[in-house]
Amino acid sequence: MAFSKKDILTIFLVLLALALTSLPVRATEGDMLDLDLSSLMQIQITSAGRKAQNLTDVPAAVYVIDQTSLMNSGATSIPEALRMVPGLHVARISSSKWAITSRGFNGTFANKLLVQIDGRSVYTPSYSGVYWDVQNVVLEDVERIEVIRGPGATLWGSNAVNGIINIITKQSSATQGGLISAGVGNHEKLLATARYGTQFNKNTYARFYVNRHDQKAYELLADKTDAYDDWDMSNGGFRLDGDHNLTNSWTLQGDLYHGQNNQIDTLWVETPPYANSQIKNTASTYGHNLLARWTHKSSEKCSKSIQIYYDFTTRDESYLEQTNHTLDIDLQHRFQLGVSHDIVWGLGYRFNKDDFTNTYQVSVTPEKTTTDTISAFLQDEITLLPNKVWLSLGTKFEHNEYTGYEAQPNIRILFKPQENHSLWASISRAVRTPSRMESNGRITTAVIPPTPNRISIFGDSNFDSEELTAYEVGYRHNPFPNFSLDLALFYNDYSKLQSYSQESLIAPIFFSNTMEGETYGLELIVKWLPATWLETELGYSYINLSMDDDLTTGFSPVTTVEGSSPSNQISCRAQIELFENLHLNLWGRYTDKLTASSVAAVQNNIIVSDYFSFDANIKWVPIKGIELTIAGQNLLDSKHLEFVSEQFTLPTEIERSIYAKLNWKF
């Protein structure tokens, strides 16, 4: 007996209906009555609210990657997940190196983006930037990643010039029980996580984790040989969260990591032939941190908190060994004044002690130093018309040892003509303070035989902060519960940007503040949930940069600043629930070309072509607690170039990656 297609379809539909009706195995009320009080106190109430809603009440360009989007993205690291954020340019330099920026100025040492993990800054003061390889957060434990494009200096402080990324991990009360996760693929040599969450007493929760990430090497652009950039990272840590009475809560958390990155560094050396020797070496990274926070919250709009953390990092590479100790203390107080003033103010103190071991290629003099930074901020959100118009005024004052006092004020206005429309505008000032390298560093850029004459870029103690005045407007609209739109436009006016002055071709080069320029652009995010099983999101960003340099002699980074950002970027994602236990996620991206990603790219005439990339993954939950993921990244081409590093790293192509991963929650 043969079945026709129609028969099969009918049988299928009948089975489907049967399966669906027999589905929910709900714990009966009777079962629950047998639980004792301490068990009842463990049950999590989840408020499922699936709405296509952007943040509507924030007068800034904010994008949030929530846990669902993060898990559905197929990303195996924070940088990969950040590719979904409009306005950010995420470019992979090699297996372990990333260039990530917001609204322009990308580079290995991109310095205008501040990044924090649970309130701890991971911005490195030695060169102003973020070492992404050591920020190996357990993605399953991330609650959300908040990304603010544009200045956030008033609240967050210096260096939040073009944006701030806040990675917020879940409270340990939300990660109770065990998680074991293991993955493997053609590029992902090993993805392994073990986490256990427990409750110490009725008011104290804890979790502990260990994590390991091994990645294989890519290939060099030039000759398709092994790029020798395989690397591994091991980390572990804990988080405790507790409550005291109804109004006080506290957190104590700490992490420890150690990584080993193979890399080929192209360096200038002291002995003939001097030039660009390619040295294979293993960079070693190590760090640990401890953070404590106490919050007293008497109401939604009245709270006090104190946070203290200590952070230690060390990084030993062929061209430099650097160590940083940071101690940071932050106080914050929020309260209502009258009916219309919502005030937040705070005080901060940061102590940094560094230590470098110099090489011929890179040196810092003196090798050791300590710096103190003191800051205070005040922000007042004024309700001008209840539920309609809000005005926010604020400023940060900071004293640092390089440039003295810095003030970073902003003014923001939010207008909600109707519940589902909001318009905002802002003017703000932000500065990027000098790094240790710009003040005291020396980087060898050429050695000319026979003497030999060594040409270097020297730090200048007079190097000043880079300054930005940013003008932004935004519009958000939520016409239907399943549709939302978020548009942000910006015009940024920069002055005193980093450039390089040089008297003659063989004279020393100094960091100088001679460049200025402007950028403008827009970011658009559209979310649409056409059906209960389908969630889609479109992100588009455009940026134009034009720089100008007063430099009379020397070389100016005008070309590379203008040429290192893609003019257009598109990200298009679909999260499809095929069945309740079978999800399909698709993600396509377009990144425009980079005409001059760095000086090295210009010298070697390498243009990073525009590229389409496509990621897809399927998640299957065969039984409760087990989730199997098969994911592919960069599926459209076998490999492509995303960025050419300024120095040290040879152009490396990013390959297609396919991996399988199993998550077991118990």
């Binding site: 297609k5 099969i8 379809l9 299928f12 089975l15 489907l16 399966a19 669906l20 589905l23 929910p24 195995v25 709900r26 714990a27 009966t28 009320e29 009777g30 629950m32 009555l33 639980l35 004792d36 009080l37 301490s38 009842l40 106190m41 463990q42 049950i43 999590q44 109430i45 989840t46 499922a48 409270q171 009360s173 939300a174 009725k202 008011n203 929760y205 969260d241 409550d243 009475n245 109804l246 629930e577 095929l578 069945f579 309740e580 236990n581 079978l582 999800h583 998640k619 299957w620 939950v621 065969p622 039984i623 409760k624 607690g625 989730e627 929650k665």
Partner: protein
């Protein structure tokens, strides 16, 4: 052929459904509250005078809109210290009679003061879920903390109403107010 395989795969995946991906099958807040009320009853001692006889039922009442739906019904199959449990739904304050544990619904919170004034000094354990319930004279208030349902207790009012709360219940409270230091 491919299509057939696709269907078979689909059917397998559906039959295997046991989905932790969504939170749709989590117990509702009121199921948990019902279980809490039953547990409260176990840890509360009412004076003998609160019962007509040694066999008289323990009465759990709901005042105002009943958000429990059917969640309280299974309690009637349970016993607390040899007393059967009886559930009563009261629409108004005047109807309250012979009740030992009263859940005051948020629908009547505007009459809060009036209700508590009438109930004060009566051996009734008042339970509520709205803001400041214990601060303004209720005995046990449900609170949500860290996505979990917890409770706080006003011991002073319990004493005043001649209700004895077991130390174990007090120790599990998120906060005890009105405790004599």
């Amino acid at each position: 052929m491919l299509r057939r395989i696709f269907y078979i795969l689909l059917i397998i995946s559906v039959l295997n459904c046991n989905p932790p991906l969504s939170a749709a099958h989590d117990p509702s807040e009121y199921n948990i509250k019902a279980a809490y009320l039953y547990n409260f009853a176990k840890f509360i001692h009412w004076p003998d005078s609160a019962f007509n006889s040694a066999k008289a039922p323990l009465v759990i009442g709901v005042l105002g809109t009943n958000y429990f739906n059917g969640s309280l019904q299974p309690l009637t199959a349970k016993k607390v210290r040899n007393r059967v449990i009886e559930i009563k739904y009261f629409k108004s304050l005047a109807e309250i009679q012979g009740c030992h544990l009263l859940y005051i619904s948020k629908s009547v919170k505007q009459n809060h003061n009036l209700i508590l004034k009438k109930l004060s000094t009566q051996p009734i354990l008042t339970v509520g879920g709205y803001k400041d319930f214990v601060k303004i004279g209720g005995i046990i208030q449900f609170i949500t903390r860290r996505d979990r349902l917890r409770f706080s207790i006003n011991l002073a009012v319990a004493n005043q109403n001649n209700i004895h709360i077991d130390a174990q219940l007090l120790s599990l409270a998120a906060e005890v107010v009105g405790d004599k230091e």
